[in-house]
Amino acid sequence: MAFEQEPEYSAAEAEDIVERTIEQHEVALFMKGTPMMPQCGYSRKAIKLLQLHRDDVETVDILQATEQFRAALKPHSGRETIPQAFVDGEFVGGSDILEQLHEQDDLADTLNA
């Protein structure tokens, strides 16, 4: 795994970023890395699936403060694993749920596409 770096955000800042992001963006993805350079295969899979249907996905690179973001996401999704996708503020899944929705042809509906 990647080396641990100093967190760029405090716990309170991470909570604030999570809340603002899911409130202000219809589709949001918390991932490791960026859409151009995902740092984990699961995050890569998640952003690719979302971008099949939406070109306006807001992303947050949780590696900027990994433990702070895991803790900040848990009240919203019930989990700490990354990636996590939200639509209209609701948790809709990690990469495996997105993949299953895609296979069932339900992903476009889930993403309001």
Binding site: C40, G78, R79, T81, V92, D96, L101
Partner: protein, 90 residues
């Protein structure tokens, strides 16, 4: 009979059998199958399939939540990531 689990936070190498037992103990009438999907030296990624009647009528998010709850405290630590499939019995 419920057996004693290692204390949370104790770093314990998780074997596929341990994960199956943990899920089957928590999710009602579950049948869990756990495999390591990646290279054999990687002991922290697992592919998990869980079949349980408890998933009937639940959304995928809620189905997955039942399994995540069963693994609470181990995910992201002893277990880096899971590839999870849930379904009800045929």
């Amino acid at each position: 009979m419920v057996s004693v689990l290692p204390a949370w936070g104790y770093r314990h190498r998780m074997e596929p059998d341990d994960i199956e037992a943990l899920i089957e103990r928590t999710v009602p009438d579950a049948e869990a199958t756990v495999k390591t999907p990646r290279d054999p030296d990687d002991d922290k990624h697992f592919a998990i399939e869980v079949v349980s009647p408890a998933f009937a009528g639940e959304t995928l998010v809620d189905q997955h939540q039942l399994v995540h709850d069963a693994l609470d405290g181990r995910l992201t630590k002893d277990i880096h990531a899971i590839e999870l499939r849930t379904r009800t019995p045929e």
